[in-house]
Structure formats: structure tokens, C-alpha cells
């Protein structure tokens, strides 16, 4: 026995009203026979049967409205073999489930006065650098805070943090928070640089034999406190070379602005991560000893984050040096608005050819990363040549 159900005649048919039974209980029907008439929204439709069967029972009477899939009659198929009641599993499919939409509570409305007008990019940079945007004023359209506003604020925050340190009373926590903002400042500056400055890179291998011999000799004769480090020699050599190639000792601000004072920013790595770049002011006017004592003064303070802000902002070029045992060369990212950074790799013994002879020498790989908007490779190359000349003639340093 099977159920004869209200047929689905279209996805848009939801129900039908039985108007008349054309067959009665006990009638034998065959495929295609009209069994009933049903009123639908499209009018009266004759309902056919697809089985040969005997009507067992009529389940609803005329005038009854039932949904698609509801049983109308029970029929007994004539060719039905062993099957007894086949319940209509189709029924479930026929009735379209109404999906109850969950009501979501209305989100709290934000008063427009509280909203900070900030560009998505500026907001992202601010979030990454822990900048409180409510303290910023915007220079963009309708006072919107832009990327530039946030970057300025990061720079200011860094300087502020450092000059506060310079007063000397720093707790562990303050030092930690300063180093977080230093990390952020480095991130912002380097990202900006990489985004905006078209860098070009040059490298030269320089024989350090003569310079080191001279330095070691000098150190032997000196008390411990006056000993020199190679960094002092290199800074001196860089300063003298920059006098000859002033285009790299410059700032880029809508054009190249060559600076007459040579203040070499020296990259100091912080123990907790991040770098800080104090300046050796007027390096070209200082002797090697003066440079060394400047380093002795400034490096410990830099590492303790006790610099004055002027010591941070006055650099006209940056120099980075990898310590002994470290990498062989370093390609720096320019610290804007400067136009170049000089990188010194680890001084190590390497085979070195000179005058057709191969020997093992202490050598250093020196790189120049420079702003291609400001200078071309020729300038960078000229600088490296000058630097080599000075280091091969250390007595003149």
C-alpha cells in the first residue's frame, strides 16, 4: 500500500485544494488516469496517477486545502510485489523548510562625534605602532588622519621617549616600553624607506692589512683605556671620503640637499632588539682618538637609551658595521631623509690577490646603499674608491 500525495507541479506551488474526487474507494485506476481535481493559484488542475492500483481509501474530502506532499489517498498497486507500506520519504523534500533567521541584537550605535576620521592605512600603521589616534590631528581631507600624520607621531614619540631617558631616571619598565617604541620606529622608518626610496647597491672589498697593523701598533703603546677599535678608523676614513664625495652626505627633500657638516650616524644594536643610531657630529673635524672617545661616551648611553634627541636627529649619513665573526657584508636600508648608508662587514682573513700575487689578508666588504633619486652609481663608486685610498694609507688618517 502506498500513499498518493498532493503532487508538486512547480517550485512555486505550495498547496492545493481538493475540489472533486474523480475516483472512489475500490476503483481500479491505471497510469495516466485523472484521480482528482485540485484548485491551485493557477486554476483548476486535473491530477493524474502514475501507478496501476486499486483505491484503498480517500483520506481527505472536497474543499480541504493541503500542502504539497500531503497524503490524499491510500492506494494498493496492482503490480506491487512484496512491498507493504512505503512511506513517502519524498514528503520531507517537498515541503520547503523555512529557515528561521536568528535575530541579531542591534549593534550599539557609535556616536559620530566619537568617531576618529582616519584613513584605513593610517589606522593600520597606528595600530601596529601602538599610537593612540585620538591624540592626533589630521591633515587630510576634512581633517582625516593620514599615513603621514601617523608617521610623524611615531617619530615624535621616539624622540620623546629618548629625551625622557636622557634625564636619567629610568625604571626597567620604562626602558622596556622605550625599546618597544624603538622597534616600532625602526619598523616605520624602514618600511617607509623601502616603499619610497629606489635603492641602488655597490660593494667593494678592501684590504685592511695596513690599517690594522697601524692600529695594533698604536694599541700596544697605549693604556687599555685609550685603545682603538677598527670602527674608529673606519668612521674617520668615511668622513674624509665624504669630504671628497659630498653628494652622499645629503638629505632628500623634494630634491638633493648637500650638507656641509658631516655627522655620521653609527648604528648601535640594542640588546633587546632594535637599533639606535647616535650621531658622531662633525666627524671629519675629529681625530681618530676624538672619534674613539666619542664612541666611548655615546655607545654605552645609546645602549642604555640615554641619548639626547639632538644626538639622534642630526645624522647626515648612516654607517653600520657588523662585528667580528658576523656576516661578511651588509646592504643597509637608507634612513630617510638621508640618501645613503655605508655598510661594513666582518673583518676576516680571506685570499686576496694583489699585483698578481695571492695572499691571505684581513679584508672587509664595504657596501653603499644609496638613493637613486639623489645620485647614480658613479657617485657611490667614487666614494668607495676614495675610502679604499684612505684605508690603504692609514698614516694619513
Amino acid at each position: 500500500m502506498i500513499e498518493f500525495v498532493m503532487p508538486s507541479l512547480g517550485a512555486d506551488m505550495e498547496d492545493g485544494t481538493l475540489v472533486e474526487w474523480r475516483k472512489k474507494k475500490g476503483d481500479t485506476v491505471k497510469r495516466g488516469d485523472i484521480i482528482a481535481e485540485v484548485e491551485t493559484q493557477k486554476g483548476l488542475i486535473e491530477i493524474e496517477i502514475f501507478d496501476e492500483a486499486v483505491i484503498e481509501k480517500l483520506l481527505i474530502g472536497p474543499g480541504t486545502k493541503v500542502p504539497v506532499g500531503s497524503p490524499l489517498a491510500l492506494i494498493n498497486p496492482i503490480h506491487d510485489k512484496a512491498e507493504t507500506i512505503v512511506t513517502t520519504t519524498a514528503k520531507k523534500d517537498l515541503i520547503h523548510p523555512i529557515i528561521e533567521k536568528e535575530k541579531t541584537p542591534a549593534s550599539p550605535t557609535v556616536s559620530s562625534d566619537d568617531r576618529i576620521k582616519i584613513s584605513p592605512l593610517a589606522k593600520r600603521i597606528a595600530t601596529e605602532n601602538n599610537i593612540d589616534t585620538s591624540t592626533l590631528s589630521g591633515s587630510g581631507e576634512n581633517g582625516a588622519i593620514t599615513k603621514e600624520d601617523v608617521e610623524k607621531s611615531i617619530a615624535k614619540k621616539l624622540k620623546g621617549a629618548l629625551s625622557q631617558e636622557a634625564l636619567g631616571t629610568t625604571t626597567e619598565d620604562e626602558t622596556a616600553s622605550a625599546s618597544i617604541s624603538i622597534r616600532a620606529a625602526v619598523a616605520a622608518a624602514m618600511s617607509k624607506s623601502n616603499r619610497e626610496i629606489p635603492h641602488y647597491y655597490l660593494e667593494k672589498t678592501i684590504d685592511m692589512t695596513k690599517a690594522l697593523v697601524l692600529m695594533n701598533k698604536a694599541n700596544k703603546e697605549r693604556p687599555v683605556k685609550q685603545r682603538l677599535l677598527p670602527a674608529a678608523l673606519l668612521i674617520r676614513a668615511v668622513a674624509l671620503s665624504l669630504q671628497e664625495v659630498p653628494e652622499l652626505n645629503a638629505l632628500w627633500d623634494n630634491g638633493l640637499q648637500i650638507r656641509s657638516d658631516i655627522n655620521i650616524g653609527f648604528v648601535v644594536s640594542l640588546r633587546k632588539g632594535g637599533i639606535i643610531v647616535p650621531a658622531i657630529p662633525a666627524a671629519n673635524l675629529k681625530t681618530i682618538d676624538e672619534i674613539m672617545s666619542a664612541l666611548n661616551d655615546i655607545i654605552p648611553r645609546a645602549k642604555a637609551l640615554k641619548l639626547r634627541s639632538s644626538e639622534l636627529s642630526d645624522s647626515t649619513i648612516t654607517m653600520t658595521s657588523i662585528g667580528e665573526g658576523g656576516a661578511d657584508s651588509v646592504y643597509g636600508i637608507i634612513y630617510p631623509p638621508q640618501v645613503a648608508i655605508i655598510g661594513f662587514g666582518n673583518i676576516s682573513e680571506q685570499p686576496f690577490a694583489e699585483n698578481g700575487m695571492l695572499g691571505v689578508r684581513p679584508i672587509v666588504r664595504v657596501t653603499v646603499s644609496a638613493d637613486h633619486r639623489a645620485t647614480d652609481g658613479l657617485i657611490g663608486s667614487r666614494f668607495l674608491t676614495a675610502l679604499n685610498r684612505h684605508l690603504q694609507n692609514p698614516a694619513s688618517l
Binding site: S119, P120, L121, G140, K147
Partner: protein, 329 residues
């Protein structure tokens, strides 16, 4: 040394069609007045004499009929170039383009390719009033299954067709009737263009100007003028309007953080709306200013020149919009 030759946009189109006819036996051109008249815009002038009636077929004014026939011929192994005189009459063939060309491959479960190329003259600029000045690129770019190209430069006018004919799927190529007489240089060493990608026509860092079609030269002119006052714009010619080359667009805006989109088509539900939405969806946190759009004023295009000019963005509108976005005095 690059050899340089200066030709009109019309001549560029014609060279493209001639080359296609020479290179492939299966290619033929069909369209209203393409033969004896020489082409409504003289693009195919002389080609009937050169290639004969079998290759250059004049058709009656039955857009649905002959565009459909082009589609049928493509299904059956030919490579028809169907010229619809202008997009204004393209609507009469819209049923064929949407319900057949764009649909058959999918509806047949991948069994039926429709490698037809349909060229349509397009655009405003010749005081032809409301029924003959349409910029309907967005209408066609709305339809999945179509490849929609826009030849905004001479180099694309010359070389797009060859690539379009290689496509196994239907391609609509928009050509711009107001540009037909413009002479430009096409480097001789450029013999192919990549129609699957947008083209950065000018590299810059301050702002991305994204455009297509008639907008390309307008934006380039504006960009050059802006450069003289120190504003470094990047100009992106979309070139393919469906499927959009999202990668190039997003890369440019991620670099400049600002986007201005320029088109002649009506502003609502346009190519610029689409691009604006995608920028917002995909690279919201790269934006340093709201995306700005310069598009057609929503009015049937009027006849008088001054009103026609006012209906679509002009060079100065572009310059002013860029200055405003960059807070430039």
C-alpha cells in the same frame, strides 16, 4: 633603436583586421556596410577588393540575426570577426551575446566553445546625441562568459584583435569612434599585446589613476601636466574589463595608497563602481584616502558640444581631482 611609425587609430584597426585575414583561413569579417561601403568608419575600406566577398561579408540590418550567425559559425569551426557598427545597435544583438555567446559553454557542460570576436564602435565625442553616444562597456562587462576588451591606445587597436582571435571564448572588443582620426606612434618592434593584463601606461608613486578606453589618453595628458607641478601619478589602463586584472590594480593602489578611477560610462553600476568595491574589499587597509571616481553624468548625452563635454570627465577635471586628493594647492 626603436623604429617608430605614426598612424591613425583607424589605420591601426585596419592593419589588425587585414593581418587576421591573412593569417588564418577560418577568419572572415561580417558586418553592416563592411564591404562595398568600406565600413561605416572606413576601417575596412579596400578589404573587399583585397579579400573578396567570401571573407568580407556585407550583412542586412539584422543585428540579432547576423551576430547570432557569427556565433553559430564560430561554434561550427570558423573564426568570425563580427562588426557591430556601434554599441548603440549592440542592444539589438544582446540576446545573442548574453543568451548564446556567453552561455553555451556553461549550459552545455563545457561541450560548446564559442570563439567569436565581436567588434563594436563605442563612445561619446562627435555630437551624435543621445542614441549614438553610448559608453556601454559596463553593460557587457557584467556578463560572465564574455571577455571584454577596450582598445584605449593605438597599440591595442593594432594588436588586440590577433590575441582576441586566439581566445576559445567569445570576445567583445570596444573601439572608440572619436579616436579614429588621431595619429600616434606605435613602436614597430611591438608586435603583440598581452590582453589578459591591465597595462601601467605611466609609473608613479603619489596616486593611481585607473581608466580605460577614451579615458587613457585623457588621463595621460592630465598626468603629464601634473608631473610638471611635481605630482607623480601612476596611470593604469585596464584594457581588459572582464575578467578584470585585479592584480595590477591592487598592486598599484597598494603602492600609492590613493586611487582615482576615470571613465566615460554612467557612474552608477559601472566599471569604476566595481573597481572601487574591489579595492575596498581587498586592500582597505592600504587606503590613505577615499577612492574617488570621475564618470559620466547620468543623463542621455545631449547634442550641443558644451553639454556633451560636460557629460564626461575632461582633462581638467582629472587634474583637479588629483590635486584635491593630494591636498595640493
Amino acid at each position: 633603436m626603436k623604429e617608430i611609425t605614426k598612424i591613425t587609430y583607424r589605420e591601426a584597426l585596419k592593419q589588425g583586421v587585414r593581418e587576421a585575414l591573412q593569417n588564418d583561413e577560418r577568419v572572415f569579417l561580417m558586418g553592416e556596410d563592411v564591404g562595398r561601403y568600406g565600413g561605416a568608419f572606413a576601417v575596412s575600406k579596400g578589404l573587399l577588393q583585397e579579400f573578396g566577398e567570401d571573407k568580407i561579408m556585407d550583412v542586412p540590418l539584422s543585428e540579432s540575426g547576423f551576430v547570432g550567425a557569427g556565433i553559430g559559425a564560430a561554434v561550427a569551426g570558423m573564426k568570425p570577426i563580427v562588426e557591430v557598427m556601434t554599441v548603440n545597435f549592440g542592444l539589438l544583438a544582446m540576446d545573442q551575446i548574453v543568451n548564446n555567446a556567453a552561455t553555451l559553454l556553461h549550459m552545455s557542460g563545457g561541450q560548446m566553445n564559442v570563439p567569436v570576436v565581436i567588434r563594436m564602435g563605442c563612445g561619446i565625442g562627435r555630437q551624435l546625441a543621445a542614441q549614438h553616444s553610448h559608453s556601454w562597456e559596463p553593460l557587457f562587462a557584467h556578463i560572465p562568459g564574455l571577455i571584454v576588451l577596450s582598445a584605449g591606445t593605438h597599440e591595442d587597436a593594432r594588436h588586440m584583435l590577433a590575441k582576441a582571435l586566439k581566445s576559445p571564448d567569445p570576445v567583445i572588443v570596444f573601439e572608440y569612434t572619436s579616436m579614429l582620426n588621431i595619429e600616434k606612434e606605435i613602436p614597430v618592434n611591438i608586435t603583440r599585446v598581452d590582453i589578459s593584463k591591465a597595462k601601467v601606461r605611466k609609473v608613479g608613486k603619489d596616486i593611481s589613476i585607473i581608466t580605460y578606453g577614451i579615458g587613457v589618453y585623457k588621463c595621460m595628458d592630465a598626468a603629464n601636466e601634473l608631473a610638471s607641478i611635481g605630482i607623480d601619478t601612476e596611470v593604469v589602463d585596464l584594457r581588459i574589463l572582464r575578467p578584470l586584472d585585479e592584480e595590477t590594480i591592487l598592486a598599484s593602489v597598494s603602492k600609492t595608497h590613493k586611487a582615482l578611477i576615470v571613465e566615460d560610462a554612467w557612474k552608477s553600476v559601472s566599471i569604476s563602481s566595481e573597481i572601487s568595491a574591489r579595492i575596498m574589499e581587498k586592500i582597505f587597509y592600504e587606503l590613505d584616502a577615499p577612492v574617488l571616481r570621475l564618470a559620466g553624468v547620468e543623463v542621455p548625452i545631449p547634442y550641443p558640444l558644451h553639454l556633451e563635454d560636460a557629460s564626461v570627465p575632461q582633462k581638467n577635471d582629472i587634474i583637479n581631482a588629483v590635486k584635491k586628493m593630494l591636498n595640493h594647492d
